[in-house]
Symmetry: C2
Subunit: 349 residues, 2 copies
């Protein structure tokens, strides 16, 4: 599937590099919970995944159920890239970082002739695709730090309001999965608090999460970069983003970040890659009814196909490995098959 | 005021030492919002503090007001020690750490004859009161780490359910300030999200915040210790508390932690010490109506008196300095005077 467009990255490691962040003094709009029909998940086909989600909600919200969970403990966590929106051919935040390079070089001209900035500025797509993980880390650090958190947020809001995905020529935020938005609304309508738990930068995702997912800034957990409190030339307090990774919200970092920022074990968790394994483990090891789910990308026609047994070239370090697939079976995690479980993938279809 | 009971600590630094934490899979109860009389703040005397709080709420919740704030952006932050409960003669968490020393030494007998553990075990009150900051840090690290986060939480829940304050012979949790509990309920009834932002350990406070303040774990921001994801001997996932301080939630650390865990600038913030100065600065530097308030302890008869101009000995490094008092006047922060602003301090009065 347009594999030439795929950056040759180890995607888990790449995400880790993209974690330096910004403040959201977000003008946050009300969570839309209207329009729920009798079927709370209309974009889902009947099947084991849809049934498992509905059963869990019933079990945990019926006060007569032995698995009843008090409303305050109803925690649902969602990975983002590949779980709630498209992550192919490259993470949206990587695109943002690459597109920010000219502005960074304008402010810091000494970077113009330094790699990897020179390559990015050249516009040579083949060369850019070959950038190493270390190069991408350098780009992430340079493009995601040095500014006031409010300025960063404003820049992301502006960028994400116009940047488009090359395949669909649509805003990245239009490429959220309609079935997952329905699950979020369904869970919230049943007293669950929904959280994004992403390897992406926390401040990046916070800039649009309320609008796109109905999730406020404090319910976005991501990779966390340092911020430094200080004062601008007029003595006004500012928080400046530092090129320092405090928390890598991938793999074991996910349950660690959940503990740090949420402080309670999820009842239900959604992921799509090896980076989500520990979050699902931690979730489903809790007492009472728990559920872990993994989105399998097996629909090249409507989206992409890169899960196990998709016959992909080895150069693509797949996020959903055969090992993870086997682990899901062993642990009782539900595999969501896009091709058969999702009637509709995008709202615009 | 029983100054001999006061530990000779630099209290800000001491709090910094007390930051290694635990998970709350809290059985969290519903927030009590009942019992609001026509006067939303019945334990407050009429005066500038009460008026300022009520005016801010009106300004930010009236949709016709130019200072209207969308419900999702209504963020209120409260320091804990000395702001929402008694911090004299010594922080509750310091008492917890000292009382945990015997259990730690039982598990690690090699500490028995090592300072400062030997002094704590001796029970010699004079000697304990003279422990240095470094000693207290060592005690905090030893007593707040090494265990599973669930086990830590259970231990705090058990301890806080029985430990009593020597002056009143009442549970520490009974020594929360009734006027501040009323403010929290009043703000929540007006669509505000209330957060604890404490220099104390995040996991410690999370263990009782829902019950005591009606504040869920994810709305408790505190000093953050590392946790490590791993597996117990049966292969069950566990998060273990590490003797490592990730975030010192004091001074500049407060706005930094607010950014990290909340992601939005507060509309209103309450503190009582120099450790809260930056949180108030950051809050009140925001656009639109904002409010910063500082609790002044000037009531030796009903609680304690240790603010500016209380004639305290120099050995007490006061948390509310003359400099902070002057800064409050300059910045327009409201000083809450316990003696005159609070009709009632504790619910049991």
């Amino acid at each position: 599937m347009k594999m030439r467009e795929v950056f040759a990255l180890n995607r888990r490691a790449a995400l880790a590099a993209l974690a330096v962040l910004a403040l959201s003094v977000a003008p946050i709009s009300a969570t839309a919970q209207t329009g729920l029909a009798a079927d709370p998940l209309p974009s889902w086909n009947d099947g084991p995944a849809k049934n498992a989600i509905i059963d869990l909600v019933k079990l945990t919200t019926d006060s007569a159920s032995p698995d009843f969970v008090a409303p305050e403990a109803r925690i649902a966590t969602f990975d983002q890239d590949g779980t709630t929106w498209v992550e192919q051919p490259v993470y949206t935040q990587v695109v943002y970082c690459l597109e920010r390079v000219p502005a960074v070089v304008e402010a810091r001209p000494e970077l113009r002739d330094v790699e990897p900035f020179r390559t990015v500025l050249s516009g040579d797509r083949e060369a850019i695709a070959k950038l190493s993980l270390k190069d991408l880390e350098a780009i992430a650090m340079a493009t995601l730090s040095g500014m006031d958190v409010d300025a960063f947020r404003a820049d992301v809001v502006k960028w994400i309001g116009t940047a488009k995905h090359p395949r669909w020529d649509r805003l990245y935020t239009d490429l959220t999965y309609q079935p997952m938005l329905e699950v979020m609304r369904y869970l919230r309508a049943n007293g669950y608090k929904t959280y994004i738990v992403t390897g992406g930068g926390q401040d990046f995702v916070r800039a649009y999460a309320q609008r796109v997912y109905g999730i406020p800034p404090d319910q976005v957990v991501g990779s966390v970069g340092g911020v430094k409190y200080g004062y601008d030339k007029d003595g006004k307090p500012i928080l400046t983003k530092e090129p320092k990774l405090l928390l890598n919200d991938n793999n074991a970092g996910k349950p660690e970040a959940i503990h740090m920022e949420i402080g309670a074990r999820p009842i239900i968790a959604f992921g799509n890659s090896t980076g989500d394994r520990q979050m699902l483990e931690y979730t489903t090891a809790g007492s009472g009814a728990r559920l872990g789910l993994l989105v399998l990308h097996d629909d090249a026609a409507r989206e992409y196909a890169y899960g196990p047994a998709q016959g992909l070239p080895e150069s693509w370090v797949g996020p959903f490995t055969q090992e993870l697939y086997d682990e899901a079976a062993k642990q009782g995690w539900i595999v969501i098959r896009m091709k058969t479980d999702w009637k509709k993938i995008f709202a615009f279809e």
